[in-house]
Structure formats: structure tokens, C-alpha cells
Symmetry: C2
Subunit: 219 residues, 2 copies
């Protein structure tokens, strides 16, 4: 059984592993809001527990056991987010902080019954896939909005940034999950994108477009 703190490290390492095979000390420190020296200490501990593979100065990666544990935390985080939005009427920008706490509640029965109560949802309020009981899930192949070209179109199926200010901004300009969008122009000056959905046109900065995930539609 892992501590609250250990679970946070495993989860962060898991998320950072999406991009690179081996995760650096400084990257973990930044995500977890701590100092590199503290990360080194924890990596040694997690390594001794058989949860991460760690070689001095070379970074860390999750073992099978560590990945299982991390996925369980992610599953709980996303199920609780669905609960908060679907059942308690929270907005999608209000749930992340509370889910950060709820994800550490220890009770296998609770997770399974919550999952059932919610109707076995496949994605959370930000479009992220929810691992099932066995940790399995389909990691959809997203394209970032910023990578689209003029005349490309598709559906908004996720966001890779969960902060409240960011999500509130998307809400305000109408770019929420499920919206069909099309890129009509890319501004020469600042690289921002001109997007059309329904009959509305909005301008999206590169910084914002970076975190919007699109499922491209063809033809």
C-alpha cells in the first residue's frame, strides 16, 4: 500500500512517461512542486519498493507494478471528476483540485461501485480516457489543434491542460468537448488560428491551441 505522497510521484512519472521513455529528476520536481533533492530521495525509495526502475543520473521509469499503481490512481481521479460533473453539477474547470484529493481514497469496493453508479464512463470531463477495472483503456490518437492546417476540420475530444483559468477561457470562447470545428485561417503575424464552429468565428492563440486535442475528420 502506497502513501499519499508516493501515489503522487507515481502518477506524475506515469504522465511524464507519455512523452519520453525515461523521466528526469527536474521534470518530476517541477510537476510535483518540490525540489530536485527531494525527488532523488523519493526515487530511491520507490526503486527499493520495486515501483520504479532508477539509475543514478539516468532518470526513472515505472515498473509494471508501478504502472499498475499509477493507473489505479488515474482511474480514481477521472471517475471522481465524472461524479463531480455528472452528479454534483460542478463545471469542468472546478473538479481537478478536489479530484486530486479524492484520488487517494483507499477502497477497492468504492471505486467499483462508483464506476457502476456512473454507468461505466469511458472518458472524463476533459476527454481523458478512464482505465477500466483491469487498467485497460484505448488511448485515442489525438491531433493537437495547433498542428492543423487551414481547411482541416474535426471534433474537440480533449484538453491537455486542466487549470481553471484555461478551461474557463475555452468555455467563454465556446470551444468545449464535442464541438465540430474548422480552421479557416492562420494569422501570419502571431500564428494564432482562426476557427469556425457552428456559425461563430473565434481567434485562438498558439498557447491556447497547443492544449486542445482534435479528432480529425476526413473528406
Amino acid at each position: 500500500m502506497q502513501s499519499f505522497t508516493e501515489e503522487n510521484y507515481l502518477k506524475i512519472i506515469y504522465h511524464l512517461s507519455d512523452k519520453t521513455a525515461t523521466v528526469q529528476t527536474n521534470a518530476i520536481a517541477e510537476q510535483i512542486q518540490t525540489k530536485p533533492a527531494s525527488v532523488t530521495d523519493m526515487l530511491k525509495k520507490l526503486s527499493e519498493k520495486g515501483l520504479v526502475d532508477y539509475v543514478k543520473y539516468q532518470g526513472a521509469s515505472l515498473t509494471a507494478k508501478g504502472r499498475d499503481a499509477a493507473i489505479k490512481v488515474v482511474r480514481k481521479h477521472r471517475l471522481w471528476e465524472v461524479f463531480l460533473v455528472d452528479k454534483l453539477n460542478f463545471k469542468w474547470d472546478e473538479v481537478h483540485e478536489v479530484a486530486e484529493q479524492l484520488e487517494h481514497i483507499k477502497s477497492a469496493a468504492l471505486v467499483e461501485r462508483l464506476d457502476s453508479f456512473l454507468g461505466f464512463p469511458k472518458i472524463d470531463p476533459h476527454g481523458d480516457p478512464i482505465p477500466d477495472k483491469n487498467g485497460k483503456f484505448e488511448d485515442a490518437t489525438f491531433t493537437k489543434l495547433i498542428e492543423l492546417s487551414v481547411n482541416d476540420f474535426g471534433t474537440i475530444t480533449g484538453v491537455s491542460e486542466h487549470s481553471s483559468p484555461y478551461l474557463k477561457h475555452l468555455e467563454k470562447i465556446g470551444l468545449t468537448l464535442g464541438k465540430q470545428i474548422k480552421v479557416v485561417a492562420i494569422t501570419e503575424f502571431d500564428g494564432s488560428l482562426e476557427i469556425i464552429y457552428n456559425d461563430t468565428t473565434v481567434n485562438v492563440s498558439r498557447e491556447v491551441a497547443k492544449h486542445i486535442l482534435i479528432t480529425k475528420l476526413h473528406e
Copy 2:
């Protein structure tokens, strides 16, 4: 903002205060599963924070601020128990441990929305009153089953022991919340009570009867 641990101390002191005005170090230690020396340390800390009144060797009591904090924890504990039973189909003997964790989740919005989602329940699955948003609740005047005499009758409205083995036992012999019962005899030999409800007669040991709370009916 209190730590997880501080909240547990406040809650225990609150519960122990029901019986006596000032709470002893050893009593807290026993409830919280720790050593008296640790309790002394914590009492000093809570005293400095203005949450308890504490005089060396004299025991402790909650300040108004401490009681407010304790009641907030109790409110959360009981609301979560209602959620687990009413929405997730847990049995009344399965919820206490999980609620011990959930009661420490920090989010005012979550508590209020959960309360609303549950329909503003007044009592939890064990018959305990749920404090409202402002910490107010009616503490009903219960009579312990063990204090009844032959021919006394009433309704089971609560239990003062939340452990799974105890609650499972009550379930098995049919003594659940809301049942109308009558004492038909008290056994000379061991003081156990002969109880009748509907058309069933059951024998209840003194140890079991001690924790069953009755609302007496007259005439």
C-alpha cells in the same frame, strides 16, 4: 486549515465530550490508537492553535473554534455515509472505514453540493444526526435498550457502535433502524433481554443492548 491528524483529534475529543466536560489524555489515546505521550504533544499544539482549552494534568475541552471544526468533520463523515448507502448500495456495516477517509476531503463546495444531491438528509445510516451547513442539529434524546424494563416498547432509532461485526449481528437478528420493538422479558441468569418485533422473538445480550438506541413510545 487543520491537518488530517489534527482533525481526527478534534473529532475524538468532540465525541468524548458528550459524556464528560473535560476529556482525559488516556481516553483520547485509546480512541485514536496512539500512546498518551503523543496525545500530550498534540494537545499542546491544538491549544496553541486555539482549538482546545488544555491545562496540564487536567484534561482538555474544545473551544468554540475547535467545536466548529469538529462538527464540520462529523457532518462530512455522516453525509458520505449516506452517499455510500443510498447511492452506492453499501450496507450500513461497510461504510464507516471509508467515511473515515472521506471526512478529510477539503472542499466547502463539495460538502454543500453533496448535501443537496442527497436531499439534505437529517440522519445517517446509523441514526446519527447530520449537522446542517451552520453546524446545527437536534440531538435527539435516546434511551439505551439496556435501560428499558419489561413491557417497555419503542422504535430503534440509532446505534452507538459502528463496527462491522456488531452491525452485521444486528442485521442478522433483524434489529435494524426503524423497527418497532418491545421488551417481553429480562433473563434472570445473564441479564439478556427477550425482544419481540413483528412476530419474531430474539434474545439480546446486555453487551449488544448497550449500543442500541430507542425512542420510547408511550401508551
